[in-house]
C-alpha cells in the first residue's frame, strides 16, 4: 500500500516538475513577445531598451535596417567609433585578442560538449526504453546515465568558463562589449533565465534517474531529457545570434543604431545556417569526445568484461558521431552559399582569398576524418568471424579514398606572389587547376562519403550470410546501385566541365542525392536482407586492435582541431571589423594573423581542452569502481540505431 501511494506521489511531483519546466521554457517567449517577434516595429516604450530612447517628446527619428531594408524608429545609440586607447582597448602586456580567443574557445568546447552529450543521452535512453530485451535495455540505460554523469562536471566547468569569457570580454574590449550588450539586452536576459532552467533540468534529470526508473515515470524522465535538449538548443541559438550579428548584422541602421526590432537582430541572414551547422558539429564533436573517453577506458581496462563494455560504448559514440558528420558538409555548403549571397566578397575572402589556405587545411582534415572512420570500421571487423571474406576489397577502397583525397585537397586559386603567378601563367595551374574547381571537389567528397557508406555496409554484413530467398537479387541490386552511383557521381563531375557555371552549380544537388541514395537505400536494403541471416560468428566486443582505439582518439582530436579551425575562420572573415561594416576594430590587433600562428593557437586550445577534459574523466572515474552490468563476452550485443 505504502509503495503505491509513494509512487502516486512521485507521479504528481514528476508532473509538477515537468509543468514547471515547460513553463520556464515558454517564459522567455512571453518575455520577448512585446519586443516584437513579428516584422512590426515594437512600441519603444515596451522594450527594455526604452530607457535609452530620448525622454523628451521629440518626433522619433526613423532609419533603415541594413539588411531587412525596413524602416524603424531609432532606439539605440550609433556604434561607437573606437580609438586605439586605454579607454576602448586596455592593454595587459599581451595580445588581448589572443586571450579572448583562448577563453572563448574553451567555453565553446565545453559548451558544445554539454549540449551534445544530453542529446546522446536522450537517444540512448529512448533506445533503452523501447528495447524489449531486458539486459540490453539496462545496458542502454546505464550508458545514458554514464553519459550524463560525464556531462555534469563539464557543465559546471562550462558555466565557470562562461563567467571567465564575460569577465575577459568586459575587461579587454569594454566599448565593444557595451555596444553589443546594449543591442542584445533582452536576449541576454532570456539567455540567463534559460541557463538557470537548463541547470535545474539537468540536475533533476540526473538525480531523479533512479527514482524514475520504472513505468510511466520513466517516460516522464525521457520527456525531461527532451525538454533539457530543447532548452540547450535554444540557448545555443541565442548565443549564435550574437556571432551571426557580428558577421552579418541586421536590425540596425548603417550607423549601427538599434531599430527596436529584436527579432531582426537575432534573425540575421547567417543565423539559421550557423545554427544547423553548429548543432550537427556539436553532435559530431560530442561523439568524438565520448568515443575518446571509451577508448581511454578500453586501453586501461583490466578485464575482458570492461574491455567489451568500453569497446561497445566507443562504437556507439563513434556511430552517432559519424551519423552527424555525414550531413555536416552539406550544412557547411548551405552556410557558404548564404555567405556568398550576403556578401560575395566575404565568400571570396574565405574560399579564394586570404583565408583560402585555411580551407585547404580543413579539406585535408575532412579527408583524414573519413579515412580514419573507414579505418576504424575495418579494424572493427576483427570482432567478427567471417569478416575475412571482405578483407580483400579493402585495398581497393583505400586506393579510391586516397585518390579522392588528393583531388579533394587540390586548391583552386590561392594567394600568390607575382613571380609565382607569372610562373604558373595565371591564377590556376594549367593541369592541376582542373582538379581545383568545385565540380571535381564535389565528385571527390561524394565518392569518399559513398565509399564510407560501402565500408559500413560491409561492416554490417561481415559476420552474416543472408538467408532470405531474394538475397541474390538484393546483392545484385546493391552491386548495381553502388556501381552506378560511382559512375553517376564521376560522370556529373566530368559533365560539369562542359556546361556553363550557372548550370554547373546545380549539379551538386544530384551528386549529393546519389550519395544519399546509397546511404539510405543501401543501408536499409542491407538491413532488411540481413534479417534472420545466418551468423558466421557473434560480434566479440572487446576483440578489436589497439590501433582501432587510437583511430577513435585520432577522430576525437581531429574533430576538436577542426572545430577550432572552423571557428577561427568564421570569426576572422570579418577581418578588421568588430561588427561587419558597422563597427570597425581600431585596436592594434585588427590585423589577420598568419596561418601558422592560427594553427599554433588552435593546437594550443585543442591540447588545453584535452588536458582538462582528461581531468574531468578522471574525476568521473573516481565515483565508479565497478563496471555496470555487462553482457558476458561473446554474447550477442546489438549495435545501435538499427544497424544489424
Amino acid at each position: 500500500m505504502a509503495t503505491i501511494t509513494k509512487q502516486a506521489r512521485n507521479k504528481i511531483w514528476a508532473f509538477l516538475a515537468l509543468g514547471t519546466f515547460v513553463g520556464l521554457l515558454l517564459l522567455p517567449l512571453f518575455l520577448s513577445l512585446p519586443a516584437g517577434a513579428g516584422d512590426t516595429p515594437a512600441p519603444a516604450a515596451s522594450t527594455a531598451s526604452a530607457a535609452a530612447a530620448p525622454a523628451d517628446a521629440k518626433p522619433v527619428e526613423k532609419s533603415r535596417d541594413v539588411w531587412y531594408k525596413t524602416e524603424g524608429p531609432v532606439v539605440g545609440a550609433p556604434a561607437p567609433k573606437t580609438t586605439d586607447s586605454a579607454k576602448d582597448y586596455p592593454r595587459y602586456n599581451f595580445e588581448s585578442r589572443v586571450i579572448l580567443w583562448v577563453a572563448l574557445q574553451q567555453h565553446l568546447y565545453y559548451g558544445s560538449f554539454v549540449l551534445a552529450v544530453p542529446i546522446f543521452c536522450m537517444i540512448v535512453e529512448y533506445l533503452g526504453v523501447i528495447t524489449k530485451d531486458k539486459a540490453l535495455s539496462r545496458k542502454y540505460d546505464q550508458l545514458a546515465y554514464d553519459f550524463v554523469k560525464i556531462s555534469l562536471t563539464a557543465y559546471s566547468i562550462t558555466a565557470l568558463l562562461g563567467g571567465i569569457v564575460i569577465f575577459t570580454f568586459l575587461t579587454l574590449y569594454p566599448t565593444f562589449f557595451g555596444y553589443l550588450s546594449s543591442i542584445f539586452r533582452p536576449v541576454m536576459a532570456t539567455y540567463a533565465l534559460l541557463f538557470i532552467a537548463e541547470s535545474g533540468t539537468l540536475y533533476i534529470y540526473y538525480y531523479a534517474w533512479d527514482k524514475m526508473r520504472e513505468g510511466f515515470l520513466k517516460w516522464i524522465h525521457v520527456a525531461m531529457s527532451v525538454i533539457l535538449n530543447v532548452i540547450g538548443t535554444v540557448l545555443m541559438m541565442l548565443a549564435n545570434s550574437w556571432i551571426a550579428f557580428m558577421q552579418s548584422p541586421a536590425g540596425v541602421d548603417a550607423d549601427g543604431r538599434y531599430l527596436g526590432n529584436v527579432w531582426h537582430v537575432i534573425h540575421t541572414t547567417l543565423w539559421n545556417p550557423i545554427n544547423v551547422h553548429r548543432l550537427l558539429g556539436n553532435m559530431a564533436f560530442g561523439g568524438g569526445v565520448v568515443a575518446a573517453y571509451a577508448a581511454y577506458r578500453f586501453l586501461t581496462a583490466k578485464s575482458d568484461e570492461e574491455r567489451s563494455h568500453y569497446d561497445w560504448m566507443g562504437y556507439v559514440a563513434m556511430f552517432i558521431g559519424i551519423c552527424f558528420l555525414i550531413p555536416l558538409p552539406f550544412a557547411g555548403y548551405w552556410l557558404m552559399r548564404e555567405v556568398y549571397a550576403y556578401r560575395q566578397q566575404m565568400g571570396i575572402t574565405l574560399m579564394g582569398g586570404l583565408l583560402a589556405w585555411l580551407f585547404i587545411i580543413q579539406a585535408v582534415m575532412i579527408g583524414a576524418l573519413f579515412l580514419t572512420a573507414n579505418y576504424y570500421l575495418w579494424q572493427g571487423m576483427d570482432r567478427m568471424r567471417g569478416a575475412e571474406r571482405y578483407q580483400k576489397y579493402i585495398k581497393y577502397m583505400v586506393f579510391v579514398l586516397i585518390m579522392c583525397f588528393i583531388v579533394w585537397l587540390t586548391p583552386h586559386t590561392m594567394v600568390m606572389t607575382p613571380a609565382e603567378l607569372k610562373a604558373m601563367g595565371g591564377q590556376q595551374h594549367p593541369v592541376l587547376g582542373n582538379y581545383g574547381v568545385m565540380s571535381a571537389k564535389n565528385g571527390a567528397i561524394n565518392t569518399i562519403i559513398t565509399t564510407t557508406v560501402l565500408s559500413f555496409i560491409i561492416y554490417q554484413r561481415a559476420n552474416k550470410i543472408p538467408t532470405v530467398k531474394w538475397a541474390p537479387y538484393g546483392n545484385a541490386f546493391l552491386f548495381g546501385l553502388f556501381t552506378m552511383a560511382y559512375v553517376n557521381i564521376i560522370w556529373l563531375a566530368i559533365y560539369g566541365y562542359y556546361i556553363p557555371a550557372n548550370v554547373r552549380v546545380g549539379l551538386s544537388v544530384p551528386q549529393v542525392a546519389s550519395t544519399l541514395s546509397c546511404l539510405f537505400i543501401g543501408v536499409i536494403l542491407n538491413s532488411i536482407m540481413l534479417k534472420g541471416a545466418k551468423d558466421v560468428g557473434p560480434i566479440v566486443w572487446g576483440q578489436i586492435s589497439v590501433r582501432g582505439q587510437y583511430a577513435l582518439i585520432m577522430l576525437a582530436t581531429s574533430f576538436t582541431w577542426m572545430m577550432g579551425l572552423m571557428g577561427y575562420i568564421r570569426s576572422s572573415v570579418r577581418l578588421f571589423w568588430h561588427v561587419n561594416e558597422i563597427m570597425r576594430d581600431n585596436s592594434p590587433w585588427a590585423f589577420t594573423h598568419t596561418i601558422g600562428f592560427g594553427a599554433n593557437m588552435i593546437s594550443f586550445n585543442v591540447l588545453f581542452f584535452w588536458l582538462t577534459i582528461l581531468f574531468v574523466f578522471w574525476l568521473g572515474s573516481l565515483g565508479v569502481k565497478k563496471v555496470p552490468a555487462t553482457a558476458p563476452v561473446g554474447q550477442k550485443v546489438p549495435a545501435p540505431a538499427g544497424s544489424h
Binding site: A292, L354, P418, L421, E581, G596, L607
Partner: protein, 313 residues
C-alpha cells in the same frame, strides 16, 4: 657487457656532452638560449627530481628497487627537461610570424613534437600512467602534424587598411597621374592592368575582367566600357529620361541625382549605385536583374574614401 647501466651511462654522457658542447662553442646560439630559458622557467621542479634521485641513490641503500627508482628519476628528469625546452620554445617564439623563409624557420610545432617524444619516452618506463601518456603523446602528435602543416603553408599576415588615407587632390592631378592612381586602386600597381588576377584596394578584378578574353563570369567584362557605356544609356531598361521608371531596387544614386548623360557619368553612377542599372544576366540570383551583387564602392566592404574615388560626381 652492454648492460642497461652501461648503456644508460653512455647515453647520459652523450646528452651531457652535447649540451656542454653547445654551451661552450655556441653560447649565443638558439639552442643555448632555449636551454637557458627552459632552465630559468623550470628549475624548481627539476631540483625536486634531482633531490629525489639523490635520495633514492643514497637514502635507500637497502631497498631492492633502488636501481629502478634512480633510473626512473633520470628518465623523469629527461622528460621534464624536454617538456620545459618545449615550453621555452613556445614562450620565445610565440609572436614569430615570419614568412618561413629558409634560415628562419617557424619553430612552434617543434614543441609539440618534443612533447610527443617526451610522452612516449616516459610511457615506456612509467607503467602506471602508460596509457594516459601514450594517448597524450598521440594527441600531441596529431596536433603537431596539423600545426606543422599550417606553418608549412605560405604565410600571409594581412594588415587592416588604414582608416584615413591622405591622397593628393585628384583635381590637381594630370591625366596620367589620375590614370596611374586608378590603376593602382584597381590592380594594385601601375602597369598591372594586363595581368589576370592582379588586384588592388578597389577589388574590382575579383569579379570584372578588364582585358579582352579575361575570365569575367561574375560581372560584365569592362573592356571597351567608354564606348559601350553610351549603348547602355540608350537601353530602355536604363530609362535615361526618367529614373523613377527604372525597375530596380534603387532608382537613383542619390535623391535628385538623375541619370547619367555621358559615358564618364555612367561609370561614376555604376560605382556609387550599382543597383541603378544591372546589365541583363548579372543581377543577384532570383532578383530578375533588379538588384546588383556589386557593393557600392564608397560603402563598406570596399569603402573607397572620397579622394580615392577618382571620378567626379
Amino acid at each position: 657487457m652492454f648492460t642497461g647501466k652501461v648503456l644508460g651511462g653512455v647515453t647520459a654522457a652523450i646528452i651531457f656532452g652535447a649540451i656542454g658542447t653547445i654551451f661552450y662553442f655556441l653560447p649565443e646560439s638558439g639552442a643555448a638560449q632555449l636551454m637557458r630559458k627552459a632552465f630559468h622557467l623550470g628549475w624548481p621542479g627539476g631540483l625536486v627530481i634531482v633531490i629525489l634521485m639523490l635520495y633514492f641513490q643514497f637514502g635507500r641503500k637497502n631497498d631492492p628497487r633502488q636501481g629502478e627508482l634512480v633510473f626512473k628519476s633520470v628518465i623523469g628528469l629527461l622528460g621534464y627537461s624536454m617538456l620545459f625546452i618545449a615550453i621555452a620554445n613556445y614562450a620565445m617564439n610565440f609572436n614569430d610570424e615570419s614568412p618561413g623563409v629558409p634560415g628562419e624557420p617557424r619553430f612552434l610545432p617543434v614543441s609539440l613534437v618534443m612533447f610527443t617524444v617526451a610522452c612516449f619516452t616516459m610511457a615506456m618506463y612509467f607503467k602506471g600512467v602508460r596509457v594516459l601518456l601514450q594517448i597524450g603523446g598521440f594527441m600531441f602528435f596529431v596536433a603537431a602534424c596539423l600545426a606543422g602543416f599550417g606553418n608549412w603553408l605560405p604565410q600571409v599576415k594581412a594588415d587592416p587598411p588604414p582608416a584615413e588615407e591622405k591622397t593628393a587632390d585628384v583635381r590637381q592631378m594630370s591625366v596620367q597621374e589620375r590614370a596611374d592612381l586608378g590603376e593602382k586602386i584597381i590592380f594594385g600597381a601601375v602597369g598591372a592592368s594586363g595581368t589576370q588576377g592582379a588586384i588592388g584596394k578597389g577589388q574590382c578584378p575579383l569579379c570584372h575582367g578588364f582585358q579582352k578574353g579575361f575570365l569575367s563570369e561574375r560581372a560584365p567584362n569592362l573592356f571597351g566600357i567608354p564606348t559601350r557605356a553610351l549603348e547602355r544609356l540608350k537601353d530602355p531598361r536604363y530609362s535615361q529620361a526618367d529614373p523613377s521608371k527604372r525597375d530596380t531596387v534603387q532608382k537613383e544614386a542619390c535623391p535628385g541625382c538623375g541619370t547619367a548623360q555621358t559615358a564618364a557619368e555612367y561609370i561614376a553612377e555604376s560605382h556609387a549605385c550599382p543597383n541603378c542599372y544591372v546589365v541583363a544576366g548579372f543581377g543577384v540570383k532570383g532578383s530578375n536583374d533588379r538588384e546588383s551583387p556589386m557593393p557600392a564602392s564608397h560603402k563598406p566592404p570596399i569603402a573607397l574614401t572620397e579622394l580615392r574615388r577618382t571620378h567626379r560626381r
